[in-house]
């Protein structure tokens, strides 16, 4: 079940032109679109770590 959470960052990155194609609000000085994509890149690691830890504990 948790495995499907991996789709969230994938959709967020792929859908960036529809969700975040703008400059404001600026994040750390960066245009919003660039901040959105890089933020979700970092979230990919977090989500994968969460899913993996859940699956590992379920296996045990």
């Amino acid at each position: 079940m948790h495995r499907w959470l991996v789709l969230v960052p994938m959709v967020a990155i792929l859908g960036a032109p529809w969700f975040a194609n703008r400059i404001e609000p600026r994040i750390f000085g960066m245009p919003f679109l660039l901040a959105w994509i890089s933020g979700w890149v970092l979230c990919t690691s977090l989500v994968l770590w969460f899913v993996d830890s859940r699956e590992t504990s379920a296996d045990e």
């Binding site: 032109p17 245009p31 679109l33 890089s38 970092l42 990919t44």
Partner: protein, 489 residues
């Protein structure tokens, strides 16, 4: 006319690059004694997880990242963002894809991509077709590394060495590196490279905006005030549709490279893929700093058009800092071309060697010897395409991806419906997809020129995705047309 000052600066920069090259040679020759790609992959099981992580990242940071990424940020703006996004989506997808491929590959005891196809489709000739497709994709990948090598040597020499000669010198260094070192010690060289790349890219990515604009925020303030549309996707051309379809194409092709696909079978368990999938997106964040360098170069070195945009990183470094920094950046760039370049060159030579020896029954030692003999020929073929020129580094990689992605539908079929696999259908699908890529490239047409009255939401789709759709349609037709199913392999 070269001045004595320029000659002195070029000597310092080139001296630092030569020193780095020597260190890379020494690290490789002192490495472990694997003599083939498979031996190297299997030997890599003995490395710790940190070195494995470095090794995987070593394959990812190529001249595409270093020069191409900054060049596209400089010339294109928002469309370059696909570069930071595609690998993360691929790692997330690998969470499902790689364990499935690994389980099948291990149960069939295959170690290469052509072996996998030959076994899955019960067809040795399909294995040979896949080997040829893999080679066709690896050549443009090698071309972009050689192009990058030429740019690095030429720019670091402050123009003393002409670009054409610089490409020759870079290629000679690559051939010597491959023949002398093979793939020995690649992990240590990759670790050395990554530390150097991390330091230079993060250092420059922070220092350049501060030196030229007073900070990252002020840099964007200046650029947005001048050209706000540069930082969002345009309505047409390299639009949002192009971005999403390009990411999808590169994600489907990400693990289809012959050397990447083959390395999947070397893992001890599928836990390794999950661990790497978690860590690797973090590595992509360095691309933000690559973009900052490209953006900082916009006002500092204006006017770089077409393929010259790939020079942005080196030109802005040369303008802003002295020859010592230039030499350090050149050295890091040199390694981003040499380490992945050697892997691609070895991989291509090995595939060609197998194609030749599969019908003659040569032993493994003879196979390695033939692969080593193939190295200069493969490099010469790549050089031919380098000198034809005219493409940016990113365009070359997208072309290579459009080719290698054509293997994906046939792989997916082996995972989802193994009892319906049909070698003729798989080959026909690949050939149809490659036909679309070849036609659109050679005739220089896009969907927009073929269908001028259709909305740009459709016509901006990356041509590689269109080729993939044609491939899937042909594969489906053949698969459905063949009566009934057969036992799963």
């Amino acid at each position: 006319m070269t001045t004595a000052v320029e000659f002195g600066e070029a000597t310092i920069a080139l001296g630092l690059m030569a020193l780095t090259l020597v260190i890379a040679f020494v690290l490789s020759i002192r490495g472990r004694g694997a003599q083939s790609l498979e031996q190297w992959s299997v030997a890599s099981r003995g490395f710790g997880s940190v070195l494995i992580f470095m090794l995987l990242a070593g394959e990812i940071y190529t001249t595409f990242t270093f020069l191409g990424g900054s060049g596209w940020a400089y010339a294109r703006g928002a469309p370059a963002y696909y570069i930071i996004g595609y690998a993360s989506v691929a790692y997330a997808a690998s969470y499902w894809l790689l364990p499935a491929i690994w389980r099948r590959g291990v149960s069939w005891q295959v170690i290469t991509q052509p072996d996998y196809f030959a076994r899955a489709y019960d067809s040795p000739w399909l294995g040979r077709v896949v080997a040829i497709v893999g080679t066709c994709a690896l050549i443009p990948y090698l071309v972009l590394q050689l192009k990058g090598l030429g740019i690095l040597v030429s720019e670091s020499s402050y123009g003393l060495i002409h670009a054409d000669l610089a490409i020759l010198l870079g290629t000679a260094a690559l051939i010597v590196y491959v023949v002398l070192a093979g793939v020995r010690g690649s992990a240590y060289t990759a670790a050395f490279k990554d530390i150097l790349v991390l330091c230079t890219v993060v250092g420059l990515g922070i220092a350049l905006p501060y030196t030229l604009h007073g900070g990252i925020g002020p840099m964007f303030d200046t650029l947005i005030a001048k050209q706000p549309e540069f930082f969002v996707f345009p309505e047409r051309g390299l639009s949002g549709t192009w971005y999403t379809s390009t990411i999808l194409m590169t994600v489907f092709g990400f693990y289809m490279w012959p050397h990447t696909f083959g390395s999947v079978f070397a893992a001890r368990s599928d836990a390794a893929f999950r661990r790497n999938a978690i860590l690797m997106p973090l590595y992509q964040i360095i691309l933000l700093f690559v973009f900052f360098i490209g953006f900082a170069a916009i006002t500092a070195v204006p006017g770089l058009k077409g393929p010259d945009a790939d020079l942005a990183l080196l030109r802005v470094t040369r303008l802003s800092y002295g020859p010592w920094v230039m030499g350090l950046v050149g050295a890091a760039g040199l390694l981003t071309a040499l380490v992945p370049g050697s892997l691609i060159l070895m991989s291509t030579a090995t595939i060609l060697s197998r194609l030749i020896t599969s019908s003659t029954g040569t032993d493994a030692r003879g196979e390695v010897r033939i692969a080593q003999l193939m190295v200069p020929f493969v490099a010469a073929l790549a050089l031919f395409f380098v000198y034809r020129g005219g493409q940016t580094i990113v365009t070359l990689l997208l072309f290579a991806y459009a080719i290698v992605t054509q293997l994906f539908p046939a792989v997916l079929l082996t995972l989802l419906w193994p009892h319906r696999t049909n070698a003729m259908g798989a080959a026909a699908g690949m050939i149809a997809g490659l036909g679309v890529v070849a036609y659109t490239t050679m005739a220089d047409v896009t969907l927009a020129t073929i269908l001028p009255s259709v909305t740009s939401h459709i016509t901006d789709i990356n041509i590689g995705v269109l080729a993939l759709l044609v491939n899937i349609a042909v594969l489906a037709l053949f698969t459905l047309a063949t009566s009934g199913s057969r036992p799963a392999p």
